[in-house]
């Protein structure tokens, strides 16, 4: 492979396209800007999901409470789950995929910059569809997993489930497009010398995640199509009268749904695997084992879906098989945990905020993993399923796991992304508030669950012994919510204080720390050549620490892709197309056609225009 196949940067030249203003952000194809847009949107939706949770907690704070009606409660818990998974954790990971993957592999951008922009706008379309439902008091209300045939028309006659189906389909398109993009980018855009087994762990885990996305999302798309045609056109996929089987929904959903949880946790695993070495000043323990255990988790993750269905009467052979396979996943997961411990063992620990969150992650994820292993035992699960014990489990792995790791990543990478250092003092306070609030909120759920409190109930009667822990949990959730306000305050305060971030504030090991903070549009003045794992540590060893601060150069002569509005137009076209499904038919026509055909056709035409004009514009 040629070494620096691209051009050197020359001293001065202005940019051809405006870099400021709303239009520059709307038409941007720069992975860094797209990453920031994902991050800001994801954070807003995460706060919204958190607000939904706080409302749930208020309702559950006392017995026989009437703060929320059952119907509103159902909408809130459905949207809380849907929002946190699809509009919170996934796009927060997408923020880091976008910003960091090209930098970590030594590339100037992803392979398909306009497709990248399309993914973001499509995500926003899906997020808006899901949330605009609140305006119509018709937010999705059948759980984030939408079990048929509760979601069929005769039991869910409003638009709630339609918003859910359409919103998820739009999000699926976004995820698939992004997955193709990052999969090809990681395979084909690595800097010279960046062999696969020299890639940073975040890139590896993200790479595996893209494969999970590619293979799992089509399955839920099919399930959603079946539900859509049942609801809109009277098909029979989940109608028991026609011999349709609601179990088909559960199988299809969970064949997607279980890989989905690995999609939610693997990138955070990757983030932690980056942070622990840097803040222990030691290389990652067992790099190859970490790569292969991540791959093994992903593969096995496709074989365990029915552990969500142990109470559905599948029979002993199915139950035993899925129970066994679920237990097996603990092995590669355990490998990772021991390797993380091995990484910090004997290291020179730098107790900065990212490290706090990374260490907190390990502890919380272990707890979540332990309750998970308990679910894998089928007879035990028959008591635990559909109780708060499960709610405890997944909040420990998704919040204590994914969110803690994503916050670790935020504290670690925000100096690079925005060019200013966050306050260590406020960061540590924020960590402790969150850690304490989180455990107060979720640990008692183990007790409540084993004592019999079911999930997805809007209230509980007095005298069952649920009041005490529910009240504690509600208090804890307020502390947890407050800790996020402290996070926002940290960002605001620190930006005002304006302590500039150097290129390499943490003595990092990977390539993103070799360029200015924030990076210039073209990322690298010269594409680096990589000679080892942890390329920056390798460079520092051979050249003597520390490396000089990299200068900002003009970037003249470096070809960058042109901005484009076509991805947005295409996403809007698909949005209009889907909106036609949510509007009623505009004229009296055969009862089986319940879509707004003119709007659907306009959406189709706009999409076709978007795609064709995109295909024919110069890249």
């Amino acid at each position: 492979m040629a070494t620096s196949a691209v051009e050197h940067a020359a001293p001065d030249a202005p940019a051809a396209h405006s870099k400021t203003g709303v239009w520059s952000w709307i038409t941007t194809v720069d992975h860094k800007r797209i990453g920031i847009m994902y991050g800001v949107s994801a954070f807003v939706f995460f706060m919204l999901g958190g607000l939904e949770a706080l409302l749930l907690r208020i309702q559950l704070g006392s017995a026989d409470n009437t703060f929320l009606s059952p119907d509103v409660y159902n909408q809130l818990f459905t949207m809380h789950g849907t929002t946190m998974i699809f509009l919170g954790v996934m796009p927060l990971s997408a923020m880091f995929f976008n910003f960091m993957i090209p930098l970590q592999i030594g590339a100037r951008d992803v392979v398909f910059p306009r497709l990248n922009s399309f993914s973001f706008w499509m995500f926003l379309v899906g997020a808006i569809v899901l949330n605009v439902s609140f305006v119509f008091n018709a937010a999705p209300n059948a759980g984030w997993f939408g079990y048929a045939n509760l979601t069929e028309t005769q039991y869910s006659s409003g638009l709630n489930t339609d918003f859910w189906v359409i919103g998820l389909m739009a999000l699926g398109v976004a995820s698939l497009a992004a997955a193709v993009n990052f999969f090809v980018t990681i395979i084909n855009m690595r800097a010279p010398g960046m062999r696969l087994l020299r890639m940073p762990m975040f890139v590896w885990m993200s790479f595996i995640t893209q494969m999970l996305l590619l293979l799992a999302f089509p399955i839920i798309t099919v399930a959603l199509i079946f539900l859509l045609v049942d609801r809109y056109f009277g098909a029979n996929f989940f109608q028991p009268d026609a011999n349709g089987d609601p179990m088909l929904w559960q199988h299809l959903f969970w064949i997607f749904g279980h890989p989905e949880v690995y999609i939610l946790i693997l990138p955070p695993f990757g983030i932690v695997s980056e942070i622990l070495p840097v803040f222990s000043r030691k290389p990652l323990f067992g790099y190859a084992a970490m790569v292969f255990s991540g791959a093994f988790i992903a593969v096995l993750g496709f074989g365990v879906w029915s552990h969500h269905m142990f109470a559905t009467g599948m029979g002993p052979i199915a139950d035993a098989s899925f129970g066994l396979l679920t237990m097996l996943i603990a092995i590669p997961t355990g490998v990772k945990i021991f390797n993380w411990i091995g990484t910090i063992w004997g290291g020179s620990l730098q107790m900065k905020t990212p490290m706090y969150f990374a260490l907190g992650f390990i502890a919380m994820f272990i707890i979540g993993g332990l309750s998970g292993i308990m679910h894998a035992a089928v007879p035990a699960d028959l008591q635990q399923t559909d109780t708060y014990f499960v709610v405890a489990h997944f909040h420990y792995v998704l919040f204590g796991g994914s969110i803690f790791a994503l916050l670790a990543g935020a504290y670690y990478w925000m100096p690079k992304m925005f060019g200013f250092m966050l306050s260590e003092r406020i960061g540590k306070i924020q960590f402790w508030l969150m850690f304490i609030g989180f455990n107060i909120t979720f640990f008692p759920m183990h007790f409540l669950g084993l004592n019999g409190m079911p999930r997805r109930v809007y209230t509980y009667p007095e005298g069952l012994g649920f009041e005490f822990w529910n009240l504690i949990q509600t208090a804890g959730s307020m502390l947890l919510g407050f800790s996020f306000l402290v996070f926002i305050w940290n960002i605001w305060r620190s930006k005002r204080a304006g302590v500039a971030a150097p290129a390499d504030p943490w003595d990092g090991a990977t390539l993103e720390w070799s360029i200015p903070s924030p990076p210039q549009e073209f990322n690298f003045a010269e594409i680096p050549t990589v000679e080892a794992r942890d390329p920056l540590w390798d460079q520092k060893r051979s050249q003597g620490r520390p490396l000089p601060e990299p200068p900002r150069v003009s970037g003249e002569g470096i070809h960058l892709p042109n901005p484009s509005v076509k991805p947005l137009i295409t996403a809007l076209g698909i949005g209009v197309f889907f909106t036609g499904f949510l509007l009623g038919s505009p004229w009296p026509i055969p009862a089986s056609l319940t879509i707004n055909l003119p709007v659907v056709l306009i959406g189709f035409a706009l999409t076709a225009y978007g795609i064709l004009s995109w295909a024919f514009e110069p890249a």
Partner: protein, 209 residues
């Protein structure tokens, strides 16, 4: 293998594979899962319909209405052959593009599109005929699964035809020289995939009893 030269502005790829070709293969991998779920559902619901009409047997309803078996294998077999040949035609068209042979490119690409149109036309005829024979989308599980599976396949064929048709127009304008043959190769890959899916659907749906 491919005859197109590297575009001056694009840096060489790590594997030597063209990015867009890798992307199409990746997309195809994802689509395999999509069709697997549809075909799997068809198989799971096969033979489970409560009322007819049925694919291979005749049926008399409780009210005495008589329904023939739905499938007409000879017609579909012919359509299948036409679709398979269209994959062959597009390979010839691609060879023409790579060699700079305009007549070969346009001739065989037109043949591909015509064959594809014939296949879609056959399906449209087939669907409307089935509806006349009493098989609606909502009639029974067979109707729902059959129309959804073959309908989505047909939609994929249609998208492929729009893509190939656009390339045909470009070819007629001389805009597909050998350096741009990859553009046709990408569409051809997608077209082959659509064909392979049909090669699975045809025996599973039409031939298996």
């Amino acid at each position: 293998m491919s005859h197109d030269t590297a575009h001056a502005l694009h840096p060489p790829t790590t594997t030597g594979l063209d990015n867009r070709k890798l992307a199409i293969w990746t997309f195809i991998g994802s689509e395999v899962m999509f069709f697997s779920a549809l075909i799997g559902t068809y198989l799971v619901y096969k033979g489970k319909s409560v009322v007819g009409p049925f694919p291979h047997e005749e049926w008399t309803s409780p009210t005495g209405e008589h329904f023939e078996h739905i499938f007409e294998i000879p017609l579909v077999t012919f359509g299948t052959a036409v679709l398979l040949f269209s994959s062959f035609f597009v390979v010839l068209a691609l060879a023409g593009a790579q060699r700079g042979n305009r007549k070969m490119l346009i001739g065989w690409l037109s043949a591909t599109v015509v064959a594809g149109l014939f296949f879609v036309g056959m399906q449209v005829y087939e669907f409307s005929h089935f509806m006349d024979k009493g098989l609606g989308y909502t009639t029974n599980l067979f109707g729902s699964t059959f129309y959804t599976l073959t309908g989505f396949h047909g939609a994929h064929v249609t998208v492929g035809l729009i893509w190939l048709g656009t390339l045909l127009i470009l070819a007629l304008r001389g805009k597909i020289p050998p350096e741009k043959a990859l553009n046709l190769e990408l569409a051809a890959l997608y077209w082959h995939f659509v064909d392979v899916v049909w090669i699975v659907i045809f025996p599973v749906v039409y031939l298996m009893k």
